[in-house]
Subunit: 313 residues, 2 copies
């Protein structure tokens, strides 16, 4: 006898690129698995930047015309639709963009009805773990990460965190801005040389270079750091790939991300320090990029919302 | 204006030892934090093996006399109380003990209403991460762990997994069983010597010894393994403490656990392999023992159930 369905989750997918398409595939291939767990995901709408396709019975899934118009108008899948949350709907993000303090407050006050795990480290349970630690009253004092696919997120908005830094470093190539062609032909060589020297100098001190993001109560830092070879971040496997193409670090978060994806060597590491994880931080490490993995993370987020969608028996 | 309470979670605590006492402390100290998130935890009962203390208004929290009698009769905090789950209550475990297939089935069929994160690695998000991966349709092929406090769980039931192995290894001390006194006086010395030789032999091959648990679809293996120094488990920090007292590994999971707690060097590492985490496994590492950390993990589990306890607005 099949398990009777206990939760039905109607989903509207905003944005249907690489991750979105994998998500649809995962939802379909997981139907038997979810049915066994008493969960059914119904995709009642799919939208891209130009149009919205809805199922015939979309209205019976709690989505009225006003809401559909809003969804259709939503330019970015990352925009927090506060009216959506106010009406009791849930929202999942790959890359949430809080536009100012007010937006951020709206998101936080509806914390149980939003999920955004795949924002950091694809499917890696980073947000879920930090949320658990905070919920248990264990104050997080510091988060340190060596990030690959995640770099794009931490550098967002790029003007504040990444853009100026990238610009400054690229401008070291010469007094004038360089074209992509010139950068690839001669800039990379120069950066490679300068990086090679930094790598050698670090090695002579028993250290290695890592691109590190640090989050503390006092602020945020992102940059290249010289770390002891036997430190948690220094011991990272796959590091050869980082130092083999060090100049790519400065070029663009996307290039770095792609580099990792193509070499199939992508992984992130995040260290979380708190009262309970003081001397031995909570370390989460693993593949942190790729459409398949990212979509899997979003699907896990959907399933995590099932208790809010229980059908009355 | 304070956030109105959205979820009230009435809790009966079965067992009030080291972890239970820390849990009560954490619940009290987190009241303002949880209130901000719209959650209130009400401890309506506390039981040890001999008695059950209940709050005056326990009945108005959905606990009837029949249930209280059952709770009072429950000898172990780890017993799955199937009638409890059948009535729609939730259950949290530090160490669940499924007594046979039927018990196990009952637990699994109420999966959303049980939590047992602290069973493995204290507060480390191991179960939560495996649950997320499985929910996303990503098939887990292999779990490898170097476990300290966790050893007790993996060895449970000890007769099958740990007991015989421990007995066999202890019996290597001589043809007759040894008393605890004899074991501590002369047994440890002999084991220390034999272990020292194994450590040296491994080192001469560039390897280290690790106590490893491996879970695959074909079965389970727990034991001492010689691993390359630069492998994920071989690189574990704090390993000095393991090889300094190798004989303790064989004595009892409790001794090992205590050793770690007192040296404040306890941490676990778990590697999870799946389709998404094939070449770069999902690695979770951190402090995996201690009453404070374990209680924090149980509290995070309680908070994770809040959507099932929503008050009607």
């Amino acid at each position: 006898m099949p398990t009777p369905v206990k939760s039905v989750l109607p989903v509207v997918l905003l944005g249907c690129g690489g991750v979105g398409r994998y998500l649809l595939r995962h939802i379909v291939s997981c139907r038997p698995l979810h049915a066994n767990q008493g969960v059914a995901i119904r995709v009642v709408g799919v939208a891209d930047s130009s149009s919205l396709l809805v199922a015939e019975d979309v209205h019976s899934n709690g989505l009225d015309d006003a809401l559909l118009t809003q969804l259709c108008a939503a330019k970015s899948a990352g925009s927090p639709l506060s009216s959506l949350l106010a009406q009791g709907h849930c929202q999942l993000f790959k890359n949430p963009e809080a536009r100012g303090k007010e937006d951020f407050q709206k998101l936080v006050s509806n914390f149980r009805r939003i999920r955004f795990e795949s924002t950091v480290g694809a499917g890696l349970p980073v947000i879920a773990s930090v949320t658990r630690i905070i919920a248990s009253g264990d104050p997080v004092s510091r988060i340190v990460g060596s990030l690959s696919g995640t770099l794009g997120y931490v550098m967002n908005p790029r003007d504040d965190l990444g853009g100026m830094d990238v610009a400054r470093k690229v401008s070291e190539l010469g007094p004038d801005a360089v074209s992509t062609k010139d950068f690839l032909e001669s800039g990379l060589v120069q950066l490679d040389k300068s990086m090679e020297e930094r790598v050698k100098a670090a090695a002579s001190r028993g250290n290695v270079l890592r691109y590190v993001a640090e989050i503390e109560s006092t602020g945020c830092q992102v940059g290249l750091k010289e770390l002891p070879k036997d430190s948690a971040l220094g011991r990272l496997r796959g590091s050869d790939n980082v130092v083999m193409h060090p100049s790519l670090l400065f070029f663009s978060p996307f290039v770095w991300s792609s580099l990792y994806v193509t070499t199939d060597c992508s992984f992130d590491q995040v260290e979380i320090y708190s009262r309970c994880y003081q001397s031995s931080p909570l370390v989460i490490q693993g593949a942190g990029a790729g459409n398949d993995t990212t979509a899997a993370g979003v699907l896990a987020d959907i399933i995590d919302l099932q208790d809010l969608f229980q059908t009355t028996a």
